[in-house]
Amino acid sequence: MKRLVLTKDELTAWVRRMTEGVRVFAPVAVGDYDEFRLVDSDQADLIRWSYQNTRLSPKGLFHPQAERMFKFSTSKEDPEWNILKEVPKDFSPRVIVGMRPCDAAALKIMDVNFDTPEYKDPWWVRRREATTIVGLACTSPSSTCFCTSVNSGPFDTKGLDVLLVPLGDGRFLLDVVSERGEELCQQFGPGGKEADSEAIATYEGLKKKAEAALVPIGDLSPLKERDMLEFFNSPIWDEVQFACINCGVCTYLCPTCWCFDIQDEVYESEGCRLRLWDSCMFPLFTLHGSGHNPRAEKLQRVRQRFMHKLKYYVDKYGQGVACVGCGRCVQFCPVNIDIREVIRLMLVQCECAV
């Protein structure tokens, strides 16, 4: 598919044209960190083309932290009393500009959960269908990043429709990587010129350099090969869990954590059923009505989080680990529990077992 080179002004102008036809979400600075926000044509030049990671992953654009599912009347006089009605939402076409490849790869990981042969989560599926993703390659990954170790990479295009690569001289290479990306470029012409061999060589060079900057964790295939119970019963969890304070930082910042809660709220005579992010770190997550809790202990909850990402998901779907190496949990865990260390411990334990 086609590859173009755009100047920054051309890129901004392209995004501005999009804002006039569809909803556009892009990374902008909010206080002291970056966040994906809806941008209008006046804000196109506020887009941060060199941000590291948004503090919160863009998963919230597809799976919002709090989302109204249904509304209902609680008044017995209402003929539609207690009948749940879907809350109307805007599922019109939209473009997310500037998503990092890891965050886009995370959406693919979550598709497996929300878009299944048996059930389709309507909100997830409709938002995914409505969205075209223009990614932004990572030319200088952070020291907490490890995407290349977990089936992704700084230039990974698997979750993307278009990849933008900052060429380092103020220009961007635009790489159309899907049909959908093609359609976007037809609907909103990006301008620019055809990428010449020099630009493509620069792109290849930047990609190699970025990949080389990422420290590999090691060969993760033992995670797949060894038996679930060997990992589950391993002594490593005692050490891993000690520092954990069971907050929800890792799960809420994680681009692949999808767990949610469903809560009803009533406001006088009407009510709302909401879906809210939840976390396997919280004891309430698994507490039975009887008072029994299968994961009552911190160790069990910590183990669940890592086992889910690194073993259960691997075994259940055969698509590798449910981690894209964005490094948010590494950076923001208040007590420095580092998933890279946990992976290493799991791998070392495997080696010992051999």
């Binding site: 206080g31 709090a66 020291s143 420095n336």
Partner: protein
């Protein structure tokens, strides 16, 4: 100044070898710059893991409640005050603890470093003579240590442990500072201004409960946020719910908070949650002359009263 690591290891080794304690709660060096990890050392051959530097802001007293056996704990001034409070509340028994006291010149705040260097990707940091050198992609700077202190450390008045079994070094000089300047500024605002300020402050909250869980005093078997009959606070990120959560959380800290800063440090989105706890601290001090975690044999201020407590607000 921060050559406490060797001394801590030495004490820990001795305590474990002499079987004075079953384990030591301390820090091990973090996997990334400006972070360290709480660790529990139970064997003398593992004491080399113990580490101390300016990034030990986690309050280790948080790991004490419900822990069995004789425990050694590395504790800064604020941590020891937390131990005092936990002891008043019967969550720990002083005689089961061996407190390795750390006179503290203040912990550093990585947010301040990020702000100065303009990036959250710091590749390395080192410290000496009141200066901090920090480097990463495209920067290598020398900063004043005093400029990087955690906000609570800037106004700390108990840098030295208030209870301990052993100190790792000589006591440091205590500072004399005005702790409540920012609180008074807010108090002077109109209701509307105050409301708008706090609406803005808490609008970024993601309800991860890191502030709650980083606190040594949040040990209730069930938190009010998890109560459903009745439900006191909604679980959404609606501003009313978020403020309700923060108000009740802060109120539960009244007369207990030692301003260790663990809550603010843990917040992934940088909410200054201490603005609420410090207000309560100020009121407790002004109304009841009480300072949390200083005297082992005192009763917490909400667990006692004086017949002539101020009541001019009561009709």
């Amino acid at each position: 100044m921060f050559d406490y690591t060797e001394k801590i290891r030495e004490i820990a080794r001795r305590l474990l070898q002499e079987k004075k304690v079953d384990g030591i709660i301390g820090f091990k060096k973090g996997t990334i710059p400006m972070m360290n990890q709480p660790v529990f050392i139970t064997s003398p051959d593992r004491v080399e893991l113990l580490h101390w530097d300016s990034w030990c802001g986690v309050n280790l007293a948080n790991y004490l409640p419900k822990r069995e056996g004789r425990i050694g704990i590395v504790a800064k001034g604020c941590d020891t005050r937390s131990i005092v409070v936990l002891s008043q509340e019967n969550q720990v028994q002083r005689d089961q603890l061996y407190i390795i006291g750390v006179p503290c010149r203040g912990m550093l705040d990585r947010r301040k470093v990020w702000e100065v260097v303009g990036s959250t990707d710091v590749k390395g940091i080192e410290e000496g003579n009141g200066k901090v050198r920090v480097w990463g992609n495209g920067f290598d700077l020398k900063l004043e240590r005093s400029e990087l202190l955690q906000n609570n450390c800037v106004i700390c008045v108990h840098r030295n442990p208030v209870v301990f079994d052993e100190l790792v070094a000589d006591e440091v000089e205590e500072q004399s500072v005005d702790r409540y300047g920012d609180i008074r500024n807010i108090e002077a605002m109109s209701s509307d201004e105050k409301w708008n300020l706090f609406q803005e402050i808490f609008s970024r909250c993601i309800r991860c409960y890191a502030c709650r869980n980083a606190c040594p005093f949040c040990y209730c078997p069930q938190c009010f946020v998890d109560e459903s009959r009745p439900q006191w606070v909604g679980k959404t990120i609606d501003r009313t719910d978020t403020l309700t959560f923060h108000l009740l959380r802060a109120f539960h800290m009244a007369g207990r908070c030692t301003d260790c800063g663990a809550c603010e440090r843990a917040c992934p989105v940088g909410i200054p949650v201490r603005l609420l706890t410090k207000k309560l601290e100020k009121d407790v001090k002004e109304l009841y002359g009480y300072e949390a975690g200083v005297q082992l044999d005192e009763r917490p201020p909400l667990d006692t009263y004086k017949p002539d407590d101020p009541e001019d607000f009561i009709k």
